[in-house]
């Protein structure tokens, strides 16, 4: 996986005794971030399949070499020593890509898609990664957000920014229908409940004319302060793709979701969620309110999926039930498992790989499902902790 190692670095590791680790400089982290940005830009710029293949192989080799010489540890130390640096560098990377590709619709669309998927999978991470709640209908909640945007944008005058929130709330509310069975069941049984819901949702959307049926519906674009996101950006003589504002807004959402999820993880709430996942009975014997945390996690995860789904639908301008199938839920799940279950930076890395590689490397586009599922299968068998395994909790950012 190209770039995986550099990202590994940005997981602020839990250093048990801050005194024992020598303070590393920020240089290694910055160099790594620049390298990853350059690599990502080169990847997005490449057109020829040969070149892309070369980049993929080169990236994998470079990552392998970096691990061999221990560069990843240097980067990890550097970023661990400067807690906010990794987050800042990640945002900087996206901004850099925005400048480089300011008039490239397709590249920007991919970047925005990554960011929105990150939000949805972070939601899934709260549910499955932290709390152990199995949710096979993530794509359905993503879709509920999208359809909310389509309905509210098409038939009402609700301001689009409010529509985003409504998308999240609707997903959370519809999800609450599943709460009773999800709370009462566990393991295989709640897997069945969410699976049944995913299948039900798609069929329902197909046969229901009010939501456009199998053909789908148009979605009104985002508008913010009178600024219509569907037309190209023009500031003076500078022209940018109309996807630029989407990328910015998606970045804001992703940063918000990321900060939220990290804070959840590094708080008593995250501890309680972990306790629910690891051992419900023991947790209950120490006063942990299992139901409360399951409800919290399920609702928060669906909310994130709904919000990102709403913006995604606005960006696509058109959605249909085929966008939100059970197979798509499995993709979201695959991203989480590939990145490392519970690992927020793993989500970011895996989303980037899963979204971009098949889009650019068209040869495998047709084969992407079989490739993902084989990869995830191998991952579960041989490296169940994923590419960037979750680190033990450090409540305090190493500053």
């Amino acid at each position: 996986m190209p770039g995986s190692i550099q990202h590994n670095a940005s997981v602020p590791g839990a250093v048990p005794n801050p005194g024992s680790a020598a303070k590393a400089g920020p240089l290694a982290g910055i160099v790594a971030a620049v390298a990853v940005t350059a690599y990502a830009a080169a990847f997005l710029l490449s057109e020829s399949q040969g070149l892309i293949l070369a980049l993929l192989v080169g990236g994998a080799v470079a990552a392998g070499l970096a691990v061999r010489v221990g560069a990843h540890r240097a980067v990890a130390r550097s970023l661990a020593a400067h807690g906010r640096l990794g987050d800042g560098l990640a945002v900087g990377m996206v901004l850099a890509l925005m400048v480089i590709f300011h008039d490239d619709h397709y590249a920007l669309f991919l970047v925005a898609t990554i960011l929105l998927y990150v939000v949805a999978v972070l939601g899934l991470n709260v549910q499955l990664g932290f709390t152990g709640l199995i949710n096979f209908s993530c794509a359905s909640f993503f879709g509920i957000g999208g359809y909310t945007a389509a309905m509210l944008g098409g038939h009402t005058g609700v301001p689009p920014l409010v529509i985003l929130a409504c998308g999240g709330v609707t997903a959370a509310v519809v999800g609450s229908i599943l709460l009773l069975p999800v709370l009462r069941t566990s393991g295989h049984y709640s897997a069945l409940v969410t699976m049944a819901f995913a299948l039900l949702f798609k069929v329902f959307m197909e046969v229901n004319d009010a939501f456009g049926g199998p053909q789908g519906v148009d979605v009104a674009p985002m508008r913010l302060f009178g600024w219509d996101f569907s037309s190209d950006v023009e500031i003076g003589s500078y022209t940018g793709s109309f996807y630029l504002p989407y990328v910015l807004l998606a970045l804001a959402l992703a940063v918000g979701a990321f900060v939220l999820v990290r804070r959840i993880e590094r708080s008593w709430i995250g501890l309680s969620l972990d306790a629910v996942r690891v051992d419900e009975v023991a947790g209950a014997c120490f006063g942990i309110d299992i139901r409360r945390w399951k409800i919290t996690a399920f609702t928060a995860g669906n909310f994130l999926a709904g919000v990102s789904g709403a913006l995604y639908a606005m960006m696509l301008a058109y959605i249909s039930p085929a966008n939100f199938t059970f197979a798509d839920s499995l993709i979201f799940l695959s991203i989480l498992l590939l990145g490392g279950i519970g690992s927020s930076w793993g989500v970011v890395l895996a989303t980037a790989v899963v979204v971009v590689v098949p889009e650019k490397f068209q040869v495998i586009q047709e084969y992407r499902f079989i490739i993902y599922s084989s990869l995830v299968l191998l991952m579960i068998l041989f490296r169940p902790m994923g590419l960037l395994p979750r680190k033990v909790r450090a409540y305090r950012r190493q500053a």
């Binding site: 839990a14 048990p16 005794n17 939220l260 804070r263 959840i264 708080s267 008593w268 709430i269 501890l271 309680s272 972990d274 306790a275 690891v278 051992d279 009975v281 023991a282 947790g283 209950a284 014997c285 120490f286 006063g287 942990i288 309110d289 033990v392 909790r393 450090a394 409540y395 305090r396």
Partner: protein
């Protein structure tokens, strides 16, 4: 006897289908005492813990704890009322750190509000520092080496340290009544002896702490308990001091006979 009864169970029965794991059991615990609960496998010792700690709801009977009827309450409520237990097979969260595991036991003192956890990080971190200090003190009392490993996953530690962490997790919330379910399981004789001494020393951490101990090692029972209750087939077979228990022919016949000789 004018001692205060902290726990008083009357007529406790627990049926699973046709099987009576407990039948008509009367059992009390005095404040500050160490009560040994002994009996052969399947005699209902762990079932008794499960019933009192709220995992099972008893078929019949009443559990009164510090004057309050807690029969059939949820495990959460019972924890908050001051009863804490350990488990026969260690049920620590192996992938979480030592600190996390101890803090799970401190749950009643944690502020779980969204605002203070997610937004007012300063307040949260103040509480966190307080937790580190509290956990550090407890761990240091059991094994000072554990303090340095406070942020290592429990899975990396040896069995005796895991048992110690379980004890810390149970004691950190300052319970009034502690149930220990075979703390010696999986440890050598020496380790067991050491751990029991440590636990008894810890009694001072929680003032007036009462302990109910399930244990197969009879020398442990002899050394640490003030009083013993012998269970057999879910019924109380005998009640008294260790010496009385060991001397009783009925108990010897049912259960102890051979093992007492081994100990001597």
């Amino acid at each position: 006897m004018n001692q205060e009864r902290i726990l008083d169970c009357t007529g406790l029965s627990m049926h699973f289908g046709g099987l009576a794991a407990l039948s008509d059991l009367d059992l009390f615990v005095n404040r500050g005492e160490v009560l040994g609960l002994v009996g052969p496998n399947g005699s209902g010792k762990t079932t008794f813990f499960n019933v009192v700690s709220g995992i099972y709801r008893p078929t019949t009977g009443r559990v009164v704890f510090q004057g309050e009827d807690i029969t059939g309450l949820s495990p959460q409520r019972i924890y908050h009322s001051g009863i804490v237990r350990t488990f026969q097979r260690s049920r620590l969260c192996l992938e979480l750190t030592v600190f996390d595991n101890v803090m799970i036991g401190n749950h009643k003192r944690l502020d779980l509000g969204f605002w203070n956890n997610l937004v007012r990080r300063g307040r949260f971190l103040a509480q966190y520092e307080e937790g580190v200090e509290r956990a550090g003190k407890l761990l240091a009392a059991l094994n000072p080496a554990l303090v340095a490993r406070m942020f290592d996953p429990v899975g990396d530690l040896p069995m005796i340290d895991r048992r110690r962490i379980e004890i810390c997790r149970a004691l950190v919330g300052r319970p009034s009544l502690l149930f220990l379910d075979e703390p010696s399981a999986g440890m050598t004789h020496d380790e067991t002896r050491q751990l029991m001494d440590e636990i008894l020393n810890m009694g001072s951490y929680s003032e007036g702490l009462s302990i109910v101990l399930i244990e197969h090692e009879m020398n442990v029972i002899r050394r640490v308990t003030d009083r013993c209750v012998v269970l057999n087939f879910g019924r109380k077979l005998f009640e008294g001091s260790y010496d009385e228990v060991a001397a009783d022919p009925v108990v010897q016949e049912a259960y102890l006979g051979k093992e007492v000789e081994e100990v001597e």
